[in-house]
Structures are given as structure tokens and as C-alpha cells.
């Protein structure tokens, strides 16, 4: 019973972390839109006095448009993530899971002065819980980002042979994902570390 409660609590905590990060990002989007809308108002006052060149208006409105796109991306990822527990077992496209995990972990990485690169040219589909696959990938990305810091970007790559998600820190940086081995097992996978800066989530036959 305690194990079930602990596991449920860990899942909730992960949901909380993802939501807190996304809403913090959205606050920044709104703050930028707010400031640039205010700037447009200021510039309109200048225009009334004939002291304005049109490029300043274009620049401010372009910033607003960029932030609308940024906000749309955050909400889309959050919505994708919110639907991951809808079914316990489904076909999980590893490329989609990698992109979602990278997007959800981007702010965590940014706060550690690193970034996340994705390579989804090769992919495979596995049968399982998308929520658990994404949770596992995010967990490893966070450990890798914690270790990498300013050494360079971390990466996540989907591969078809083996059927896996590979998470890597820059060479010379080591990280240990073994604490997430039980989570990998519950997601129908195992963790394989062929080098100190590299951990692969290897899935069984699709």
C-alpha cells in the first residue's frame, strides 16, 4: 500500500513540476506581451508628435507575435502531456516522446545554463504508457542537465535499432541515471550506460 502511495505521489510531483515550469514560462510570455503592448502605446504617443519611425512599431509588434507563437507551443506541449495518462497502454512513438520530454524539460535545462538538443531522424513505436516513457526521459534529461551545466548542451535521440531513447551529456561530463532503473522497469524498459556521459532507455520488442 505504501509503495502504491509513494509511486502515486511521485507521479503527482512530476505533474506538479511540469505544470509549474510551463506556467512560469507562460507568465514570462504574458509579461513580454504586456511590456511590448505598453511600448506600442508609448510609440503611438510619439507618433502623434511626429517623432516616430515605422520600424519601431514593426519591431514591437513582431515581438508580440513571437511571444504568441512561444505561448502556443508551451500550451500545446502542456496539453499533449496532460493527455498522456489517458490510457495505461498505447503505441508510443519514441520520436514524439523525445520531443515532448525535451520541450517539457527545456526550462529546467535553461535554469542550469544548458539546453537540450533533439535528434528524431530514426524512431520506433513501443507499446506502453506514454506518461511513464516521458516521465523517465524527463528524469534522465534533468539528471544530465544538472551534471552538464555550462559544459554544453545535453541531447535526446530516438533510435530504431535498438529501440531506444538515448540521453547524453557533453563528453567529459558523467551522470548516473541508475536511480531511475525501477521507473524504467515499470515502463517496460531497461537503462544501459555505455559511457559515463550517456544513458539509453532500451525497450523490449515492439
Amino acid at each position: 500500500m505504501d509503495t502504491v502511495n509513494t509511486d502515486g505521489r511521485e507521479r503527482l510531483k512530476f505533474f506538479g513540476r511540469v505544470t509549474a515550469s510551463a506556467t512560469h514560462d507562460l507568465k514570462n510570455v504574458l509579461a513580454i506581451v504586456n511590456e511590448n503592448a505598453g511600448l506600442l502605446e508609448d510609440l503611438c504617443l510619439l507618433a502623434e508628435r511626429g517623432q516616430l519611425t515605422p520600424d519601431r512599431l514593426t519591431h514591437a509588434s513582431g515581438r508580440i507575435r513571437e511571444q504568441v507563437n512561444r505561448g502556443n507551443g508551451i500550451i500545446r506541449r502542456l496539453n499533449d502531456f496532460a493527455h498522456t495518462p489517458d490510457v495505461d497502454e498505447t503505441n508510443v512513438d519514441l520520436a514524439e516522446a523525445a520531443l515532448l520530454a525535451a520541450g517539457l524539460s527545456a526550462r529546467f535545462a535553461q535554469l542550469r545554463e544548458t539546453s537540450i538538443e533533439t535528434d528524431t531522424a530514426s524512431t520506433a513505436t513501443v507499446r506502453g504508457s506514454k506518461f511513464e516513457v516521458v516521465r523517465l526521459a524527463c528524469g534522465l534529461l534533468e539528471i544530465a542537465a544538472d551534471a552538464a551545466k555550462t559544459a554544453g548542451p545535453v541531447s535526446i535521440r530516438s533510435t530504431a535499432a535498438p529501440t531506444a531513447l538515448e540521453i547524453a551529456a557533453p563528453e567529459g561530463v558523467s551522470f548516473d541515471g541508475s536511480a531511475l532503473a525501477p521507473l524504467a522497469e515499470s515502463a517496460g524498459a531497461s537503462l544501459d550506460s555505455s559511457a559515463p556521459h550517456h544513458v539509453a532507455i532500451v525497450f523490449g520488442d515492439a
Binding site: 507568465k27 514591437a60 535554469l111 542550469r112
Partner: protein
């Protein structure tokens, strides 16, 4: 009045600096703590407006560095959420604390009264 703005969101801080300039406040800005420290060494800022949560050095850590350089400098903090922890840590020593998105008139009032 000369102030320093520090936030890792460049599009936010640059627009804010421009708006403050229209209102007679000379605001330098940067998106990171290290450059903020350099700017503080080279300039005399009355007030620093700092984002609480930034990559690398947090706003609260930055405040300690800036106070060591310019003990008379006063501070206003910006936060995305205003979590209880942020508020507790930030408001204990800060002159003021604002939640994003901010109202520029309120910011100016806080800066002037900091």
C-alpha cells in the same frame, strides 16, 4: 535617475528599459548576473530591478554581490509567480517585490520609493 534591470527574458527587459526611458528613467539592462556585476562596478545605479529566478545566479544571489560592490544600492524584485518561498526570501530584505506581468507605473513608484 539611473537604474539597472536584470532578467533573462531579453524581450521583456529591453522593452521595459525603453518604456522607462520615455518616463525619464535611465535604465541599463542585462540578461545575466555576471554582466550585472560588471555594470555595477562601472556605473552608479540607485536601484537594481532583479528577476528572482534566472539561470546561473539567482536574483537573490545577485543582490548579495551587488550590495558588496555598492552597499547603498536598493532593490526591487520581479517574480513570475510570487511563490511563498520567493516572497519569504525576497521580501525579507528587498525594498519591494512585484509579480509579472507588471504595471509600469507601479514599478516606477516602487523604484522611486525603494
Amino acid at each position: 535617475m539611473k537604474i539597472l534591470l536584470v532578467d533573462d527574458e531579453i524581450e521583456l527587459i529591453s522593452a521595459l528599459a525603453e518604456r522607462l526611458s520615455f518616463r525619464g528613467i535611465d535604465a541599463d539592462w542585462t540578461d545575466n548576473g555576471d554582466q550585472a556585476i560588471e555594470l555595477a562596478r562601472e556605473n552608479d545605479y540607485e536601484v537594481a530591478v532583479l528577476d528572482v529566478k534566472m539561470p546561473g545566479m539567482s536574483g537573490l544571489e545577485l543582490r548579495e554581490h551587488l550590495k558588496a560592490i555598492k552597499p547603498e544600492m536598493r532593490f526591487v524584485f520581479l517574480s513570475g509567480h510570487g511563490s511563498e518561498q520567493d516572497f519569504r526570501e525576497g521580501s525579507a530584505k528587498a525594498s519591494s517585490y512585484l509579480i509579472k506581468p507588471i504595471n509600469i507605473d507601479e514599478l516606477i513608484e516602487r523604484v522611486k520609493n525603494a
